[in-house]
Amino acid sequence: MRKTRKSRAARRNPFFSAGAFGAFVLGAIVLVTLLAPLIAPHDPLAQDLAHTNAAPGEHGYLLGTDQLGRDLLSRLLYGARTPLLVGVLAVLCGGLFGTALGLLAGFTRGWPDQVLSRLTDIQLALPSILLALLVLSFGGQSTAVLVLVIALTGWPAYFRLVRARVLALRTSEYVEASLTQGIPAWRVAVRDLLPGVRGLVAVTATLDLSRAVLMEAGLSYLGLGAQAPEADWGLMVSEGQGQLLSSWWIAVLPGLGLVFLVISANLLGDHLAHRREDHGGREAAAEPSLAAPTPARTP
């Protein structure tokens, strides 16, 4: 029974098997990043000035070396560290913040809602990459600032979705039923509303992870994120793009790493979103299609 249902979902939803693929690739990237110190053939910072710009396979470097003769394979293995760390932390911060405020605004309505909604309007009026540039250029760059600024540009998405959902759930009969049972409002919010937005937040967070990773990469590319000599995919593309003519692998390979990371997060997020639509029953079906967030994208 279960099996047939699953396979039907698979047939109906082209993203199904892709979702598993996304989860697998994402897991693999995380695993490789965690194990990098054990499996990397070289120190990612060790330079071999005698063998700079070695092509893949040359001088025993499986994927070649960069301009400073650093082993590209080792750098690639380490290179997802910052994007993942920054991405996950930013998603956590932004997600928690946005969800909590969305819950507050949607549940209490009134002035907190007004204030917070205007705040997101204002926030959205500042294109996120610009906000990030501004803060990082004038506020100084560090991992903490990077996380905060990515979280800062991410929270309105959670806020809006959660708020809209809570507004809808707030008037739903089961929430009113809890209220008529005399259950205190905050408890209703936590016990009846939070589970209702849990799935939505999970989907948003997965897609937000790809946004955060892209943003980290974009900022690193512009020189405002990770700093040399650190191995970071976005930074590596920026460092290597001058060498595309002579040593394409220096920029192209880390870029591919980024693409895989983002694709896998997007696939997983899409899959989760679709599964919500498929099995979420009435609630999910009643949501406008917009509420299933499209992955945000930072160029």
Binding site: L126, P127, G139, G218, G234, L244, V252, G255
Partner: protein
């Protein structure tokens, strides 16, 4: 309708005010701009004099008021690097950015319309055969813009030498940056269009159309009209991504627009120029969204008739 427009306008102004205040705050908590503007080797007295002349020694509240006065009058201090009105500098770079953004937007709309119609117009029929454009869109969405740009330069500019890779010299030079920029904006548009077209096709009124004997094409046309609302919303939101995208794309392709300008201004800590540039970008973004809101009213009679609620 008038009430609707006024309300939107009010919200727009609040958004602009808030965003500019944020910019002001960030800039002012980051140090005395006079320090950055002073000539090399200036002593403390000179800096203090400069600071005073520019009004940076006044209380922050006073400066804040003065700042908005300046913004309202369109009277910005001179850029440090260009030694002329920052607004003028931004203004001069504007056409390049507008050309790029408009071309990219047009490309994105075309791409999104084609992909969305093909995949969403099937109304769930057709399976993978109709879904492949969405996979393409999905891919475009997952590749960082700078990476697309770098690859395009490498392949089409350097290896194949088909297209120019930098500078705003002629229409051919527009192609690569516009395509790169469009890659960033097309995916959300296409996805939303496809989904909302599908949703619209699942709505009873399209079935009514079929039941009245309409052809598939005619039903699609009606559904496409109906599905425009979310598309337009996303279009407004993507205006931000588009403007943000110009920052990176202009850097990659050395496109002399406001995006590149803001990067160099930030690097040079050219405080007045950053301010003028951001003021422009924010206003542009918010204006686009205002237009989108009004378009909303035009597209959906229900919005038009219920000015009270949104």
């Amino acid at each position: 309708m008038l009430a609707f427009v006024l309300r939107r306008l009010g919200m727009t102004l609040v958004a602009v005010w808030g965003a500019l205040s944020a910019v002001f705050l960030v800039l002012h908590t980051s140090g005395d701009p006079a320090l950055m503007m002073a000539p090399v080797g200036a002593d403390e007295e000179q800096i203090a004099a400069l600071s005073h002349a520019l009004g940076y020694d006044r209380p922050i509240a006073e400066q804040y008021v003065a700042f908005f006065g300046d913004v309202l009058r369109g009277d910005f201090p001179d850029s440090l690097t260009f030694q002329q009105s920052a607004l003028h500098v931004v203004w001069e770079r504007l056409p390049a950015t507008l050309t790029l953004a408009a071309t990219a937007l047009a490309l994105a709309c075309l791409g999104a319309a084609a992909a969305g119609l093909w995949a969403g117009g099937a109304g769930g029929r057709g399976g993978a055969r109709r879904e492949w454009p969405m996979w393409l869109v999905f891919l475009a969405q997952s590749v960082p813009g700078f990476y697309i740009g770098v690859l395009l330069v490498w392949i089409f500019g350097v290896e194949l030498r088909w297209l120019p890779t930098s500078g705003a010299a002629g229409p051919a030079a527009l192609i690569l940056p516009a395509v790169t920029l469009a890659c960033g904006v097309t995916p959300p548009l296409a996805r939303v269009f496809r989904n909302s077209l599908r949703g619209e096709l699942a709505r009873p009124y399209t079935r009514t159309g079929t039941a009245l004997g309409m052809s598939r094409a005619r039903v699609l046309r009606h559904a496409a009209h109906g599905s425009m609302l979310p598309v337009v919303t996303v279009l407004g939101l993507e205006a931000g991504a588009l403007l943000g995208g110009t920052v990176i794309v202009e850097s990659v392709f050395s496109w002399p627009g406001v995006g590149q300008l803001v990067i160099t201004a930030l690097q040079n800590e050219d405080y007045p120029l950053v301010l003028a540039d951001l003021t422009f970008l924010i206003t542009a973004f918010v204006l686009v969204n205002l237009i989108v809101d009004l378009l909303y009213g035009l597209l959906d009679p229900r919005v038009r008739h219920s000015s009270g609620r949104s």
